[in-house]
């Protein structure tokens, strides 16, 4: 039961975060939100008895992807100036 509640809360937050990611004004915030979404997904993966996947999602989906996004965004901003 606790698991259900936790996952529901997590789910609501995830949906909220994903909407933020799409609709926030600042791109940095959007990218961060996507990263946070990924992190939360990885927590949910843990709940779903998938530690391997959780680890991968955290390391690749969350950390690395966000880093790549930021590198590119940075680059674009630099070009703009």
């Amino acid at each position: 039961m606790i698991l259900i509640i936790v996952s529901m809360v997590l789910g609501v937050v995830m949906i909220a975060v994903s909407l933020v990611a799409l609709h926030t004004k600042k791109l940095q915030a959007a990218i961060l939100a996507a990263g946070v979404l990924s992190l939360m997904t990885s927590i949910l993966f843990l709940l779903l008895a998938a530690p391997d996947v959780a680890l991968t999602e955290a390391a690749i989906g969350s950390a690395l992807t966000t880093a790549i996004f930021f590198y590119v965004l940075n680059k674009i901003k630099n070009t703009h100036v």
Binding site: I4, S7, L22, A50, T79
Partner: protein, 123 residues
Amino acid sequence: MNFFSVQGISLTIGFILILIGLWGILTQRNLIRIIIGFTIFNNGVNLIIVALAYMKGRTAPIIDQVVTRTDAVDKVADPIPQALVLTAIVIGVGVTAVMLSYTLRMYRAKHSLEINVFTESKW
């Protein structure tokens, strides 16, 4: 199915994420946001895969002190989708990286990130 279970909730969230991702892909103008839409979309897909592997009350498919070889069959979640989703995640990051490099090049060409600017080839 029972929507009021961990699996049910996870699956539902997964599908909602897919739809939100698609919404982003189809309505956002900014290329970076479209790509964010794709990461959300992929997150949803991955979540669905993992959720399908889940069985109530079961634990990670790793044999150790708690889960012995003999009772593993009744204790662990389905390892196959978990193995698949590893692949899917890695593919996701590869695709995202390539898309972002494309975005970079397109930005250089036109100094814009608006998707409706890039329509040189058409009809």
